[in-house]
């Protein structure tokens, strides 16, 4: 699940310089995160109307990051979109950029911030579990990822700031190395933690732009 957060409404309003806008939501992650579903679109519409901005139409794409599917759905909104110069997207950054590619002559205003790839822990509670490094090593740590869950990407045990099993950055956050240690100890695998892990191969993380 790609986790998004709604932007402050003023941030969105400040970007709008047209009388009319069109809103695009997303049926998948953003709907579950309550940032780009039906409710959020109608809430945004009301707020914009109050400011005297006309929302000429809206649609929820399924999902917004699916370019071919987007084109098919958006075809039905040709009339509304014809003279529109600004579109507000309530999706993740993938969705927003997909829309931007489809409408080269229109400006895309993102109504969300994309935070991370995470797990849905409870309703409205998300936790980052994977940072897309392209080189999965969780088998070494019995299913726990220190690359994602240690703010310093430590691969050889905790730093000196691991306090009572919590991370120095945020004491609501478990020190992942504390969890790894506890889990491997139970399974009698502590010996493995004594081996030195060599510098990580980040070349698969492809932080630069890539197609596969």
């Amino acid at each position: 699940m790609i986790i998004t957060k709604s932007k402050n409404i003023n941030n969105i309003i400040n970007q709008i310089n047209q009388e009319s806008v069109f809103i695009i939501g997303c049926s998948e992650c953003a709907t579950i995160c309550k940032t780009g579903g039906e409710n959020e679109i109608s809430k945004l519409e009301k707020l914009l109307t109050k400011q005297g901005i006309n929302v000429i139409g809206s649609v929820i794409l399924e999902p917004a990051c699916h370019k071919l599917n987007d084109k098919r759905i958006l075809n039905k909104y040709k009339k509304e979109l014809k003279d529109i110069k600004q579109i507000i997207t309530l999706s993740c950054g993938n969705g927003a950029q997909t829309i931007s590619e489809i409408f080269e002559d229109k400006e895309v205003i993102s109504g969300t911030d994309t935070i991370f790839l995470g797990q849905i822990k409870h309703i409205n509670e998300f936790e980052k579990k994977c940072n897309l490094c392209g080189n999965c090593i969780i088998d070494k740590y019995d299913g726990l990822c220190p690359i994602t869950r240690c703010p310093k990407n430590m691969l050889n045990g905790p730093c000196g700031g691991s306090i009572e099993g919590k991370c120095e950055i945020d004491n609501n956050m478990d020190c992942i190395w504390h969890l790894i240690y506890k889990k491997l100890k139970k399974k009698n695998r502590l010996k493995e933690l004594r081996e030195i892990n060599e510098p990580f191969d980040w070349s698969n993380s492809k932080t630069w732009r890539i197609k596969i």
């Binding site: 000196g160 700031g161 306090i163 004594r194």
Partner: protein, 309 residues
């Protein structure tokens, strides 16, 4: 035997060493480094130059180390993984050795969110253990992290690391120190010791594994200068363990500076008796002049180094 550095020589001869920290200024003023160095020169064998510690921007540790070298004072250049990837780290390692730096202390580094540029992006390409291994491979095997050969002179550096004896799980903390030893560290400096009981438990574990025979252990001591500092160290600095009774002494004291000094002197006297500890590392940022007093009054003699009190 060829010694890599003065510190290497002192420790190899089983002389109880003193090291002290010098924090570079938040400016380009080289005289600040020189002044601090001069105050402390006769009271320690080598001087840690911090690397943007607590993620606050200061003069680079490499430059400040070079300033000490130019003034015949031996630096221990601290180097962290927070601000540089493996390319920059190795490049600075070569540069440091070329400029006459002979000791290096490899750290992962405080997280940038604690510093004065919390919006910055941390690097953390490698961790401290991997960095130790990188320096060792460069020094002993003449190879870079990617396996390529260093084309001529290899960086001769005496390698150090930091260790925290006060992690909740002693066994795991010692495991991690053992990894640092296996990676190639020659000495370790510990987190500041306030809780002597916990430190002794940690040392017992170290000795039971024979690790004190494999590396040199230098215990950290930080003189507390004020109630504010005691409070900050106890509640805000990750990994510092100030027992309640020591904290209360600082709180109740009418002259916190005097009390802080007394506590440090007591700790120094206790630590120097612990078998397996090979020295003391003083961290007294902005209170450097207290270090000579501690060294003199704890009778940490410098007779082998031809210094008279």
């Amino acid at each position: 035997m060829n010694y890599i550095s003065n510190l290497h020589k002192i420790l190899s001869k089983s002389i109880f060493t003193i090291t002290a920290e010098i924090g570079p200024p938040k400016s380009s003023d080289n005289t600040i480094i020189i002044e601090k160095g001069k105050i402390l020169k006769d009271y320690a064998d080598a001087f840690n130059i911090t690397d943007n510690q607590t993620a606050v921007v200061r003069m680079s540790s490499l430059s400040a180390s070079k300033i000490l070298v130019d003034n015949d004072i031996e630096p221990i250049m601290q180097i962290t993984c927070r601000d540089r990837n493996r390319i920059a780290l190795q490049s600075d390692i070569l540069g440091a050795a070329a400029l006459g730096v002979k000791n290096i202390l490899c750290l992962t580094g405080d997280h940038q969110s604690f510093g004065n540029h919390p919006e910055s992006k941390g690097v953390f390409d490698v961790d401290s253990i991997q960095l130790i291994q990188i320096v060792k491979n460069m020094r002993d095997n003449g190879i870079f992290q990617n396996g390529e050969k260093i084309t001529s002179k290899k960086p001769a550096l005496f390698i150090g690391a930091a260790t925290n004896p006060f992690l909740k799980c002693t066994e795991f903390a010692v495991d991690r120190l053992e990894k640092k030893i296996n990676a190639g560290t020659n000495f370790v400096q510990t987190q500041s010791v306030f809780n002597i009981d916990k430190f002794n438990i940690w040392m017992d574990e170290i000795k039971s594994r024979g690790l004190d025979e494999m590396i040199h252990i230098i215990a950290g001591v930080s003189p507390l200068k004020s109630k504010k500092m005691a409070n900050r160290m106890k509640f805000q600095i990750p990994g510092v363990d100030i027992p309640d009774d020591l904290y209360a002494r600082m709180e109740k004291s009418e002259k916190p500076e005097v009390e802080g000094y007394k506590i440090s002197l007591e700790l120094t006297n206790m630590i120097k008796k612990i078998k397996g500890v090979h020295g003391i590392h003083y961290t007294a940022l902005f209170w450097e002049r207290i270090i000579p007093e501690l060294v003199i009054n704890s009778k940490l003699t410098f007779k082998d180094r031809n210094i008279k009190f």
